[in-house]
C-alpha cells in the first residue's frame, strides 16, 4: 500500500494521520441498514461498507457497473484508493438530460472502505446529487469521487458527512468543468473522529463556474480538515467559496484553500471567504488561504476571520427576552446561512437544517 501522507508534506501540515496509521481495520459483516436513513422522495442508491446494496437501492437508468480504476495523480490517498477500490457509483447522464435529484447513501460499520465514484454529465445535462454519509463504530472511509462536466452541464453536489464519531473519513473529490459548465457544491462536515474533504476543481473551459462551500461543525476532540484547490485554466471563469467553521470543546478545524490562475485565464473572478467561530477555550482553527496567480487581468480576493461569538449580539438578543442558548443558536444559524447558499433544493436544504439543529442540541 502507498504510504499515508505525513505532516512533512505541505498539503498535510495541519492534519496528522498517525492515529490512522496505527489502526488496522477488520472487515465487518454488513449490519442491517438503520431505519432512520433519510428519504426525500427521490431515487436513492445505497452503499454499505463500500459495496453497492442493490436491494436497498432504486433502479436508475443512468447508473452503470463498476469498472477498474487507474489513478493518474500522485495524491497519496487517491493512489491508496485505486489500489483497493472494488466498487463505486458510476453515473452517466447523457447530453441534454435533466436527471433530477439522486440520493447517494454511504453507510459503514467497519473495515477500510475505498469506493471510487464516477459521475459524468454530457453537454447541457443537469443533476443534483445529495450524498448522505453515516456509520457506526470504527472504520476508515476513503472515497474518491471523479466528476466530469461537459459543456454547459450543471451538477449540484451536496454532501452531509455525518460519520461515526470513531471513524476516519478522508474524501477526495475531483471535478473538471468544461466551457459554461457549473459545479455547485456544499459540504457539511459534522462526523468522524478525524476527517478531511479534499476538493480539486478545474475550470477547463471559458465561463465555467464553481461554488465550493462548506460548513464544519465540530465538537469533542474532532479534527476536521477542508482542503480545496480551484484551478482556473480558461478565461472568464468564476469561483466562489464560503467556508464556515464552528468549533466547540477541543475540536480543531482546518481550512486550506488555494485559487490558482493560469497564464491564459484572463478575466478570472475568484472569491474566497473563510470564517471560524471558536466556542470554547480549547478549540483551534488553522486557516491557509492561498492565491497563486499568473494572469494579470484578474479579480481575486480572499478573506479569513477567526473569533468568538460577538457578545454584543448575544446581549442584544437576550435583552429582547431570548434565552442565552437560543440566542447563541440563532447567531450560529445566521453565521452558517451564507455557506448553505448553493443548496437550492428544498428537500436537501431541510435535511441540512435538521442536521445542524441536531448538532447544536446534542453538542
Amino acid at each position: 500500500m502507498t504510504a499515508l501522507p505525513t505532516r512533512s508534506l505541505e498539503a498535510w501540515r495541519y492534519t496528522d494521520l498517525r492515529p490512522l496509521d496505527a489502526m488496522s481495520f477488520a472487515e465487518a459483516p454488513a449490519a442491517p441498514l438503520p431505519d432512520d436513513l433519510p428519504d426525500i422522495g427521490v431515487p436513492r442508491l445505497v452503499f454499505v461498507n463500500g459495496r453497492f446494496d442493490a436491494a436497498a437501492s432504486s433502479t436508475l437508468m443512468f447508473a452503470h457497473g463498476f469498472a477498474t480504476v487507474t489513478e493518474e495523480s500522485d495524491l497519496p490517498l487517491a493512489l491508496i484508493n485505486a489500489q483497493h477500490a472494488q466498487d463505486g457509483l458510476t453515473l452517466e447522464i447523457p447530453a441534454g438530460v435533466d436527471a433530477g435529484v439522486v440520493l447517494l447513501i454511504s453507510y459503514a460499520n467497519g473495515g477500510a472502505l475505498h469506493p471510487r465514484h464516477r459521475i459524468s454529465l454530457g453537454a447541457g445535462a443537469t443533476l443534483t446529487l445529495l450524498e448522505v454519509i453515516k456509520g457506526e463504530g470504527v472504520y476508515w472511509h476513503n472515497p474518491v469521487t471523479d466528476i466530469v462536466l461537459a459543456q454547459g452541464a450543471r451538477l449540484a453536489h451536496y454532501r452531509l458527512q455525518n460519520e461515526s464519531r470513531e471513524a476516519f473519513h478522508l474524501a477526495t473529490i475531483r471535478a473538471a468543468a468544461a466551457a459554461d459548465a457549473a459545479y455547485e457544491s456544499f459540504t457539511a462536515v459534522m462526523g468522524a473522529k478525524l476527517s478531511r474533504a479534499e476538493f480539486h476543481v478545474e475550470l477547463t473551459g471559458a465561463k465555467a463556474h464553481t461554488h465550493l462551500n462548506a460548513a464544519q461543525l465540530l465538537g469533542g476532540s474532532q479534527h476536521g480538515d477542508f482542503t480545496s484547490v480551484v484551478r482556473h485554466k480558461a478565461p472568464d471563469c468564476s469561483s466562489r467559496q464560503t467556508v464556515k467553521s464552528v468549533l466547540s470543546d477541543a475540536a480543531r478545524g482546518v481550512f486550506q484553500g488555494r485559487i490558482e490562475v493560469d497564464r491564459v485565464a484572463q478575466k478570472t473572478d475568484g472569491y474566497q471567504m473563510s470564517q471560524a467561530l471558536l466556542l470554547s477555550p480549547a478549540a483551534e482553527m488553522d486557516i491557509k488561504p492561498e492565491l497563486q496567480i499568473f494572469a494579470d487581468d484578474v479579480k481575486c480576493s480572499h478573506g479569513a476571520t477567526i473569533g468568538a461569538l460577538d457578545e454584543e449580539q448575544v446581549f442584544y438578543l437576550r435583552s429582547r427576552g431570548i434565552p442565552e442558548d437560543t440566542a447563541r443558536a440563532m447567531l450560529i444559524r445566521a453565521f452558517l446561512t451564507e455557506a448553505l447558499e448553493p443548496v437550492t433544493h428544498a428537500g436537501a436544504h431541510a435535511l441540512f437544517e435538521a442536521a445542524i439543529e441536531t448538532w447544536w442540541t446534542g453538542k
Binding site: E284, M285, E290, D296, K299
Partner: protein, 483 residues
C-alpha cells in the same frame, strides 16, 4: 577652513579604524581564501579579536550549518549556491572605480532620477573614500550627540569589545544560531553590522541609520544587527539606502535581532535596492535575511517597515514575537519585482501575551517576468487572550508574464482572540489609467502615480525624507514595465 581640517582628520581616523577591522584592504583579501571551513571561522574571529565565548558560538553555528539543508519551501528558484566559491571575509568587490566617469552610466542615470546629491552618488557607486567626507563628519557628530544621551550606536565588532556583557546577553537570543540555514551561516561567519543600545527611559534623539555610517557600508555579505531598547526607551532605525549599491556579490545572508523591554518602542525601516540583475535576469543579489523582534516587555512595540525593490531574489520575513502583555507588532511592506526578480517575503506574528495586537499591511507589485509572493504566519497561542490581528495583503499585476501569490497561515488557539485577514489581487484598472491619461499624464507617469497610491498605506510609515525617495524609487523600478 577648520571644519575641513577636522573632517580630514576624522576620515583619517576612520580609515585607520577601517584598516584595523580589515574591511576592504588588499591584505585581508589575501589572507582569507575563498571557501568555508572551520579555519575561516576561526580566522574571522581572531581577526576581530573576539573573546572565546563568541568563537565557540560561531563554531557551534558552523557545525550545525554543515548538517542543515538549504530551505526549499519558498517560491524562488535559483541554481545551487556554491558556498565554497564565496569569500567570507572582506568581500571581493571588483576594483573600485577611480572616478564617476568609470561608473556604469545606467547607474548614474538612476541616481539622477532619484535626486541623490552629487557627492553621495559617488559614494554609492563605490568610488573611493573622498566623496564620503560629508557623511563621515555627520557620522561622528551624531555619535557624540548620541553618547550624551547614553545611546550606544557602533559596529557590532566594536560592541563585542566595548560592551561584551550586553552582546553576550542578547546575541542570538531572538534568532538562535540554529534558527534556520541562513541564520546558522550568518552566525558562523558574520562580518559586522550595527549594535544599538538605548538605555532605560531614553528616547533616541535622532533617527539612526546605517546610511551615515561609513563602516557599515562595506560590511560584506553577512551583516548582524542587534538593537536593544530598555524599559521605556524608543528608537527609529533606518537601514539601507534608496540607490542601488554597485555590488557584484551574490549572496547576502543577514540577521537582525530586536529586543524591546517594558513600554519600549523600536521602529525599523528598510529600503532595499540591491542590484536586481539585468533585464534578462543575469546577476543580482540573493538576499536571504532573517529579521525578528522580540517584544519581551509589557506594552512594548516593534514596527517593521520595508520597501523592497532590489535583489534578484528576496527571502525575508521580518517577524515579531509578542511575548509581553499588551505588546504590539506591525509590519508594513511594499515589495516590487520586475524583469526576472523573485520575492518571497512576509512576516510572522506570534501572539503569546495577553491583549497583544498586530497589524500587517503588505503590498506586492509584480511586473515583467517576475514572481512576487507574500508568505506570512499569524499564530495565536492559547494564553493570548484578547489578542487581535488585522492583515491586509494586496497584489498588483502589471503585464501578463508575471505572477503574484499569497500564502498566509492563520492559526488561532484562543477563542477570545480576533483574527482578520483579507487579500486581493488585481491589475491597474483601465478606467484609472484612462482618467490619468486623459489629464495629460504619460502612461508611465500614470502607472507610477497609481502604484504610489496603491502603496500609500505603507509609504506613510517611512520617515518622511525616505518616503519621498521611496516613491521615486518605485517609479524608477517600474520603468519599462508598460507600453
Amino acid at each position: 577652513m577648520s571644519a575641513t581640517v577636522e573632517t580630514r582628520d576624522t576620515v583619517e581616523a576612520l580609515s585607520v579604524e577601517k584598516y584595523k577591522y580589515g574591511f576592504t584592504t588588499e591584505i585581508a583579501m589575501e589572507e582569507f581564501p575563498k571557501g568555508l571551513n572551520e579555519e575561516i571561522v576561526r580566522l574571522i574571529s581572531a581577526k576581530k579579536g573576539e573573546p572565546d565565548w563568541l568563537l565557540a558560538w560561531r563554531l557551534k553555528a558552523f557545525a550545525l550549518w554543515q548538517k542543515l539543508e538549504e530551505p526549499h519551501w519558498a517560491r524562488v528558484e535559483h541554481p545551487p549556491i556554491a558556498y565554497d566559491e564565496l569569500y567570507y571575509y572582506a568581500a571581493p568587490a571588483a576594483p573600485a572605480p577611480k572616478s564617476l566617469d568609470e561608473v556604469d552610466p545606467a547607474l548614474l542615470n538612476m541616481y539622477e532620477k532619484l535626486g541623490i546629491p552629487l557627492n553621495e552618488r559617488a559614494a554609492l557607486a563605490g568610488v573611493a573614500v573622498d566623496a564620503v567626507f560629508d557623511s563621515v563628519s555627520v557620522a561622528t557628530t551624531f555619535r557624540e550627540t548620541l553618547a550624551k544621551s547614553g545611546v550606544i550606536f557602533c559596529p557590532i565588532s566594536e560592541a563585542v569589545r566595548e560592551h561584551p556583557e550586553l552582546v553576550r546577553k542578547y546575541l542570538g537570543s531572538v534568532v538562535p544560531y540554529g534558527d534556520n540555514y541562513f541564520a546558522a551561516l550568518n552566525s558562523a561567519v558574520f562580518s559586522d553590522g550595527s549594535f544599538v543600545y538605548i538605555p532605560k527611559g531614553v528616547r533616541c534623539p535622532m533617527e539612526l541609520s546605517t546610511y551615515f555610517r561609513i563602516n557599515a557600508r562595506n560590511t560584506g555579505q553577512f551583516e548582524r544587527t542587534l538593537i536593544i531598547a530598555e524599559e521605556g526607551a524608543s528608537v527609529s532605525y533606518l537601514e539601507g539606502c534608496t540607490a542601488p549599491m554597485r555590488d557584484e556579490n551574490q549572496l547576502h545572508a543577514a540577521v537582525v535581532e530586536l529586543v524591546a523591554m517594558d513600554d519600549a518602542k523600536i521602529k525599523y525601516s528598510t529600503v532595499q535596492n540591491w542590484y536586481p540583475g539585468d533585464a534578462q535576469g543575469k546577476g543580482g543579489i540573493y538576499n536571504f535575511v532573517t529579521k525578528r523582534g522580540a517584544c519581551r516587555g509589557r506594552n512594548s512595540k516593534i514596527s517593521w517597515t520595508q520597501v523592497e525593490t532590489g535583489s534578484a531574489i528576496t527571502w525575508k520575513y521580518p517577524s515579531c514575537i509578542l511575548q509581553g502583555d499588551g505588546s504590539v507588532g506591525e509590519f508594513y511592506s511594499v515589495a516590487m519585482t520586475h524583469n526576472h526578480q523573485q520575492a518571497d517575503t512576509g512576516t510572522k506574528m506570534i501572539h503569546i501575551g495577553k491583549n497583544t495586537t498586530s497589524t500587517i499591511i503588505s503590498k506586492g507589485i509584480s511586473a515583467g517576468h517576475s514572481n512576487n509572493t507574500y508568505r506570512g504566519l499569524v499564530k495565536i497561542m492559547p494564553n493570548a487572550s484578547g489578542a487581535r490581528n488585522y492583515t491586509q495583503c494586496d497584489s498588483l499585476l502589471i503585464g501578463d508574464q508575471c505572477g503574484a501569490h499569497t500564502v498566509p497561515y492563520i492559526e488561532s488557539r484562543n477563542a477570545s482572540a480576533k483574527v482578520e485577514h483579507e487579500a486581493t489581487t488585481s491589475k491597474i484598472a483601465e478606467d484609472q489609467l484612462f482618467y490619468c491619461r486623459s489629464r495629460g499624464l504619460s502612461e508611465e507617469d500614470a502607472v507610477g502615480l497609481i502604484v504610489n497610491g496603491f502603496c500609500k498605506d505603507v509609504l506613510k510609515e517611512l520617515p518622511m525624507e525616505f518616503a519621498v525617495e521611496a516613491q521615486k524609487l518605485l517609479a524608477v523600478s517600474l520603468e519599462g514595465s508598460v507600453g
